[in-house]
């Protein structure tokens, strides 16, 4: 009996002694699943992947539908159909806003703040930060900047004047360029394949930084033409470096694998018949017998060499051209049309594409059109603009797989004329920027080109084409500094065109 007693006491004592103190026993709240710190190399990967993803997702959908590159179909209450008739509600914008402020920017900020000794990372972070904020300003106008991203230290950041944010972005780009110029051996860590846009190529980042500055300076073309001219002149005089070929495109390549494909393609797969090429864009290109159509769109009827776009308010149908290899990646299977020449959005059709087309964000083509506009308005005029205009078309056509002979023929048939040359440049830029989020809308707000016709008032939700988007509902609910806009006719600071 006694023995048993001792044994049980011993077992109990041993159990209790195995925790040497209460505090130590309770000290188990350290998360074994996720760290509180992460290597900047891995954090940057998330930032660049999400930058590419954002530009092929909501941001691209809203702006390509407003700009009549895409058309939303598939029946009433389908989101793309609603967006196209300018029914974009504050609650539709929560995800887009989060893609900037909750997803990309905190990670970019982390890379900048934790890359001491690794200026290549700091520089990429700063340039990306400037790029990201420039897009947020272009979408909403006034947004949080000086008090943003401070975490729980400030859960109600104030909203800054958008005109005051842009100058800060120029500084950021300059700092970033200076960081990147640091010799490689002076940077402890060097980004490589983990940076999914340029794979760590610092020269390309420099070219992008300078080209981005050109893009942003040009935004002042109407608000403050003198500023735009002087800044662009000065930057061009330094010789950049600027983009010199499509290899310098600021674009994110995607991969033909499950949950790694480009988001435009993925949307086609998951949201059948939601999106077709817009009649406006297709007709525009039909008129010029544009050879890019062969990779931009499928033909309709399939195999006919003819192209048909969809328009807002069309009855539900799939008898249109569809998005093609330029946006969805190369064909790896065969498309089998219906008897009427339309294509069913089934698994066989969707699996025919690799889904690995890049999401293009700032291309060599756009660089050339920026230079063409600069030359036309602030430089040597038509003659100086023409080579850039032509180089822009060629860059775009090369990306679209158009043979040189066809490029030559198109350029010959569509010379830059003295009548409305700016309209011509922006129209070509609009075609070249098929698949580029936001920029076509920026150009239209700035210059009025291409002169799209608002969606018919019988179906449009507003009597104007939006000049900015509403603040997201989640923000106006949770941050009293946000005052919702009365409508989407509120303009961003550089949008002064009447």
């Amino acid at each position: 009996m006694k023995k048993l007693k001792y044994i049980s006491a011993g077992v109990l004592a041993a159990f209790m002694l195995s925790f040497s103190s209460c505090d130590e026993f309770l000290d188990v709240n350290e998360n074994p699943n996720s760290p509180t710190e992460a290597p900047i190399a891995q954090v940057l990967t998330n930032a660049t992947v999400n930058t590419g993803f954002r530009n092929g997702s909501d941001l691209h959908r809203f702006t390509s539908l407003i700009m009549q590159q895409f058309s939303g179909q598939a029946g009433p209450t389908i989101q793309t159909r609603e967006y196209q008739r300018y029914l974009i509600q504050p609650s539709d914008l929560n995800n887009l806003y989060n893609a900037f402020y909750a997803t990309a920017l905190p990670d970019i900020e982390y890379v900048i703040n934790n890359s001491e000794g690794s200026p290549r990372y700091t520089g990429i972070g700063r340039i990306l930060k400037a790029y990201t904020y420039s897009q947020a300003v272009d979408v909403w106008g006034d947004v949080p900047f000086t008090e943003a991203l401070q975490g729980v230290a400030n859960l109600s950041p104030k909203v800054d004047d958008d005109a005051a944010i842009y100058p800060e972005l120029f500084k950021l780009i300059d700092q970033g360029i200076a960081d990147i110029k640091t010799p490689a051996k002076a940077s402890l860590l060097l980004p490589g394949a983990n940076e999914t846009i340029y794979r760590g190529d610092s020269l390309k980042w420099l070219k992008f930084g300078n080209t981005l500055k050109l893009r942003l300076f040009l935004k002042y073309s109407e608000k403050d033409p003198a500023f735009a001219k002087s800044q662009m002149d000065a930057l061009i005089a330094t010789g950049g470096p600027f983009m010199t070929s499509n290899a310098d495109n600021f674009e994110m390549a995607f991969v033909d694998a499950t949950a790694s494909q480009n988001p435009i393609h993925q949307f086609e797969v998951s949201r059948l018949n939601y999106t077709f090429p817009n009649k406006y864009l297709v007709d525009f290109m039909n008129e010029k017998v544009d050879p890019r159509r062969a990779s931009y769109f499928t033909d309709f009827p399939y195999g006919s060499g003819q192209y048909k776009g969809a328009a807002a308010g069309d009855p539900e149908s799939t008898n249109y051209s569809r998005l093609h290899t330029y946006l969805r990646g190369a064909l790896k299977g065969t498309i089998t049309p219906r008897a009427d020449g339309g294509i069913n959005a089934n698994a066989a059709y969707n699996n025919a594409y690799t889904g690995s087309a890049p999401i293009r964000m700032l291309t060599f083509a756009e660089y050339n059109f920026i230079r063409a506009e600069h030359a036309l308005r602030f430089g040597g005029g038509l003659a100086e603009a023409t080579p850039f205009y032509q180089a822009g078309i060629r860059a775009s056509m090369t990306a679209a797989g158009v043979a040189t002979a066809a490029q030559d023929a198109y350029i010959l048939a569509n010379p830059l004329l003295a009548v409305n040359p700016l309209q011509q440049i922006i129209q070509e830029k609009y075609i070249a920027n098929y698949g580029v989020a936001l920029e076509p809308w920026n150009d239209w707000r700035r210059t009025g080109y291409p002169a799209i016709t608002p969606v018919s008032s019988t179906i449009a939700a507003t009597d104007y084409i939006p000049r900015s988007l509403y603040y997201p509902e989640a923000e106006t609910n949770s941050n009293t500094n946000f005052v919702q806009k009365p409508d989407m006719n509120v303009r961003v600071f550089w949008d002064t065109r009447q």
Partner: protein, 1032 residues
């Protein structure tokens, strides 16, 4: 705390007591009324620890000090008797029933046994007989309707489907509102049971592992006052399960219970069989709706391109189902010697569902034993091993759910008469969803649970008035799951493989360890004043490990091995929580009528930062028996009257790892489906979480106040209990949405408050009682009113579950869980605004379309006995509470219901008839007169979520049994001690006046704070069969 533990160890080593000179007294105890011998009666020498139970023959033998002593004979339900021992060596005693019968002993928090009449709070009890009437697989379902204030939410009738228990409403926003489950003093896990909305199968809550035939009784501690000693985990109440045990002195007996029930779908929609598939009156062979032509035997080309005669198949949907069965067996061996007892049992349950490939098989091995090591030291051990395997079918809002569109298959589809796949295994179907037969056969889910629940306990009598008890308990299980999605599956199924075929292997381990030390004492301070106290300490450790490998793009059909997947993703999530609590429970009794119970507990939880990890909370409960205090009140009518009041506060801990913010695995998504899953192209990625933790997180608290009255009349033929409670929950921990300009979209912190008020009423009547016949009737009623008082500053609502429309949300100023969804445009007078086309249009804003909370719930239990024949039945009543039924919406919009054929769809000249006119006004204010077709009416009705919110009022015959116990007299010459046979059933009848076609008791989300959300749910079932109970 540490010192407390060591003091216990020291106490254990105390030397035994020296014995005085003694002699032996023997005797027999019999029942004063029947004269039968009474085993198990405790015989104790008053004022000492010397005690012994009577044996099977009611005999005892005890050593008493030679100097003279008093023997005390005690037995539950009988009046104590004391006999002075002078020189006798034999003392026979006749014990009489306690006239009040109220000295019923109830197991309360921490296993402390107390007399029911002394309780200052409300405890609901369900004994084995009441528990096992309906014989559902999930023991939680067996509690439905039986206890006032306790509502059981069953999610569906599928094999293994979960059921939630909600006691007196909800006490927290997004955390679990499920009560703590305790078996024989060991808290166990009842987790799981929540379902994904858009993929997967119906999951089980883990109490489903228990064998109801091992359960002696279940006590439900309703709310904080009753459960205060359990602290952090019992804010939502506690379910205290006591298992059957052998008794000391009991002869070895064998108990055998068996039941066999058929299972079938309890309600089918009423379909029309006049019109074929198609739209606009035209036959369209690929259409999934039935707005086609009248079926007149015409020849059409079906979806396979073959000519066929158009025919209605009235049973094409019913035929998908089969009759299921539920077979339960338990055999138990129990017995006891003088100082030891045991019970050993084996049970198995075999359930076959109403769909093919839906099965559950469970084995329960249980051992309970106790032994007196010395007269002062007793020990006990209890072990349960459970093995359970199941197969299940997909559910939810996804194309692989066989009933995603299965309830409204066009009337002319001869589903059972056609093959569902070709020779290569590709499915054959007219619609873009999975063929129901194909998905049931091909998209599979298998799981296996191995679980051990056990405890060892020691009790040492330090002095005659002071006991030390120690219990070490463990509950650990591993759940191994494999989901297989066939190549060509069209829905998300288990893995969302997008038709490439998918497989996942998951292993989930959950371990709970509980160490519990209590010193309990009892002392009469004065003859009128006694004191009972328990002080103790509890240590809890919970750890989980979830390892999951998801593979997609399968190479070989039906090779259910992860190596078959060319793309694989590994996931792992671990968690650990610990808690240390010290507590005291003191009860003061004044004479026989005042009992004041005061408790205090301090918890130290690992889930908080050091500054906030210690928190204290008190409770006080008072019971005052009026009829004892003022005997003048007692008369022929009033037998007993008691008032009670209590106040309690309970703190609740946070989810693990909520005090910090982490870098989580990278990824991208936009809410439309497109997503990037890392590793991306061979790259790992990390992103700063959008959800911030809060280092200053502190416990949330629930405070409750309750008053109640209990009375008995007419010699206990009539009794009632009425309780009123108010529960306030404050500082609730939830993920508060914040401005994402900060870099976070939410922060887990303390915010918000919530209130529940309610009344409970319990009535027990014995309307008839003769020597041969008794009729006992019990009625319980609960009305709970909840209000979300505040969420967080600037947060008007949070969505608990659902879609943009509809969803179930919490909104300040509203009851807990209101339904929001799209509504039709109306004018200021509330009239529908009808367009020129004769149809209403949608309001751009979602509005409140329903309240998921019932107005009240109740149950009526009847028990009729006539000479061994017993009839028991339970009527379960729910009044009000809305259910959003996507199935009903789909059934109506697709034109398959009888009501869609109420009016002829065609005019005599073959054109589409227009029998419907929406009641409403046109834009100019004039009354709408535009007639529309049946198709347009039902289709337009569907566009607004408000059109398929239904009142879930239901009265059901929940359980019934009719049995016959063969009189013991007849069994005397047989080996049987008891033999009972009977018929039983569950969910036998349903009356749902405002809910057409389907059973409203369905929740696609399973155990969830969001109730009333049915999204393509699988059906509920009824069961009926026979049972046998015998002892040898």
């Amino acid at each position: 705390m540490k010192s407390l533990l060591f003091s216990f160890v020291l106490m254990l080593t105390l030397a035994g007591q020296v014995w005085a000179q003694e002699r032996t007294v023997t005797g027999r105890v019999t029942d004063a009324a029947t004269g039968e011998t009474m085993p198990g009666v405790t015989v104790q020498v008053k004022g000492t620890t010397i005690a012994t139970p009577t044996d099977v023959n009611g005999a005892y033998s005890i050593n008493v000090p030679s100097g003279g002593a008093t023997l005390v004979f005690t037995f539950v339900g009988y009046a104590n008797q004391e006999v002075a021992v002078s020189t006798q060596s034999s003392i026979n005693v006749r014990l009489a029933l306690d006239s009040r019968q109220l000295s019923e002993v109830v197991v309360t928090a921490m296993g402390i046994q107390r007399e029911k009449k002394d309780l200052g709070y409300s405890v609901g009890t369900v004994d084995a007989a009441a528990l096992t009437i309906g014989r559902p697989t999930n023991v939680v379902n067996a509690l439905s309707g039986k206890v006032a204030g306790v509502s059981v939410a069953s999610s569906s009738g599928m094999v293994g489907a979960s059921s939630g228990i909600f006691i007196r409403g909800n006490t927290t926003f997004t955390g679990s509102n499920q009560p703590l489950f305790v078996i024989d003093g060991v808290p166990i896990d009842n987790g799981g049971g929540g379902n994904a909305l858009q993929n997967g199968v119906a999951n089980s809550n883990r109490a489903i592992d228990l064998n109801q035939d091992d359960i002696e009784s279940i006590n439900i501690l309703k709310g904080p006052a009753a459960a205060a000693l359990y602290g952090s985990r019992a804010a939502s109440g506690a379910v205290i399960i006591t298992t059957k045990k052998g008794k000391a002195g009991q002869k070895t007996s064998v108990e055998f219970n068996s039941s066999y029930n058929m299972v079938e779908v309890n309600r089918f929609p009423e379909w029309q069989n006049e019109y074929a598939q198609g739209t606009g009156g035209n036959f369209i062979p690929t259409s999934n709706v039935s707005w086609g032509p009248r079926i007149t035997g015409q020849t059409v080309t079906n979806f396979r391109g073959e000519q066929e005669t158009l025919t209605a198949y009235p049973d094409n949907i019913k035929d998908i189902f089969k009759k299921g069965s539920n077979f339960q067996n338990t055999v138990a061996l129990s017995g006891g010697g003088e100082s030891a007892s045991y019970r050993l049992s084996y049970g198995n349950t075999k359930e076959s569902g109403v769909l093919e490939n839906n099965k559950l098989q469970r084995h329960n091995f249980t051992f309970n034993g106790s032994a007196d090591i010395t007269p002062k030291l007793t020990s006990g051990v209890s072990v349960q091993y459970i093995n359970s395997e199941s197969k299940r079918t997909q559910q939810g809002n996804q194309l692989s759910n066989p009933f995603f569109r299965g309830w409204f298959i066009p009337r002319n589809i001869n589903l059972s008469g056609m093959p569902y796949e070709d020779a290569a295994g590709n499915q054959i179907y007219f619609d873009a969803v999975d063929n129901p037969y194909w998905t049931i056969a091909n998209n599979t889910y298998d799981d296996e649970i191995n679980r051990v629940i056990g405890n060892v306990n020691l009790s040492y009598k330090l002095t005659p008035w002071l006991d030390a008890n120690y219990r070490l308990g463990v509950d650990t299980y591993t759940q191994v799951e494999q989901g297989y999605d066939q190549i060509g599956a069209r829905g998300a199924a288990n893995t969302s493989a997008g038709g490439t075929g998918g497989i996942y292997d998951r292993s989930y381990t959950n371990t709970n360890i509980n160490s519990n030390f209590i010193l309990s004492g009892r002392k009469d301070i004065t003859p009128d004043f006694d004191l009972t106290f328990n002080v103790g300490n509890e240590i809890i450790s919970n750890s989980t490990n979830d390892v999951n490998t998801i593979g997609k793009t399968l190479g070989i059909r039906n090779l259910k091995n992860i190596s078959n997947a060319s793309v694989q993703t590994g996931l792992n999530s671990k968690s650990q929580r610990r808690l240390v609590g010290v507590f005291a429970d003191v009860t003061f009794g004044y004479r026989d009528f005042v009992t004041l119970n005061v408790t205090g507990r301090n918890d130290f939880s690992s889930t908080f930062g050091e500054a906030e990890n210690s928190y204290f909370y008190p409770s006080a409960a008072l019971s005052f028996v009026l009829t004892e205090a003022f005997p003048v009140l007692k008369n022929n009518v009033i037998e007993f009257a008691k008032v009670k009041a209590n106040y309690a506060k309970v703190g609740k801990e946070a989810p693990a790892y909520s005090t910090n913010t982490y870098f989580v695995a990278a990824g991208a998504s936009d809410g439309f489906g497109p997503s990037i899953v890392f590793p991306y192209n061979g790259l790992g990625g990390r992103t700063y979480s959008n959800a911030s933790g809060d280092p200053n997180l502190r416990p949330e608290f629930t405070t409750s106040k309750e008053v109640g009255l209990e009375m008995q009349f007419f010699k206990n033929r009539l009794g009632f209990e009425a309780n009123y409670y108010v529960t306030n929950s404050t500082d609730l921990i939830f993920s508060v949405p914040v401005s994402s300009s900060s870099g976070f979209t939410s922060q887990t912190r303390n915010a918000g408050s919530l209130r529940n008020k309610g009344i409970e009423f319990l009535l027990n009547v014995t309307p008839l009682k003769t020597s041969n016949f008794t009729w006992d009737l019990s009625f319980n009623f609960n009305r709970n009113r909840s209000e979300v008082i505040e969420l967080a500053q600037g947060v008007p609502n949070i969505i608990l579950a659902g879609f943009t429309t509809p969803n179930v949300r919490l909104e300040a100023g509203q009851p807990y869980g209101v339904m929001y969804g799209s509504v039709f445009r109306r004018n200021d007078q509330g009239q529908l605004i009808i367009g020129a086309n004769g149809e209403p249009s949608l309001d751009p804003l979602s509005k409140k379309i329903g309240d998921t909370n019932p107005d009240w719930t109740g149950g009526i239990t009847n028990n009729l006995n006539y000479k061994g024949i017993n009839l028991s039945f339970l009527i379960d009543i729910r009044k009000g509470g809305d259910v959003y039924s996507r199935n009903l919406g789909d059934l109506r919009r697709s034109g398959v219901l009888a009501e869609a054929a109420e009016f002829d769809r065609f005019t005599s000249d073959g054109k589409l008839a227009t029998p419907y006119v929406y009641e409403g006004v046109k834009a100019d204010g004039s009354v709408n007169t535009t007639p529309i077709t049946t198709e347009r009416y039902f289709t337009s009705l569907f566009t607004a979520g408000e059109s398929y919110v239904y009142d879930a009022t239901a009265v059901r015959l929940r359980e019934a049994s009719l049995s016959y116990a063969i009189p013991t007299g007849l069994l005397q010459k047989t080996p049987f001690g008891r033999l009972e046979v009977g018929l039983n059933g569950r969910n036998l009848l349903l009356w749902a006046p405002n809910f057409p076609h389907l059973d409203p008791e369905n929740n696609t989300l399973g155990v969830s704070n969001a109730q009333g959300f049915e999204f393509n749910g699988l059906p509920n079932t009824r069961s009926y069969g026979a049972f046998l109970r015998l002892t040898l």
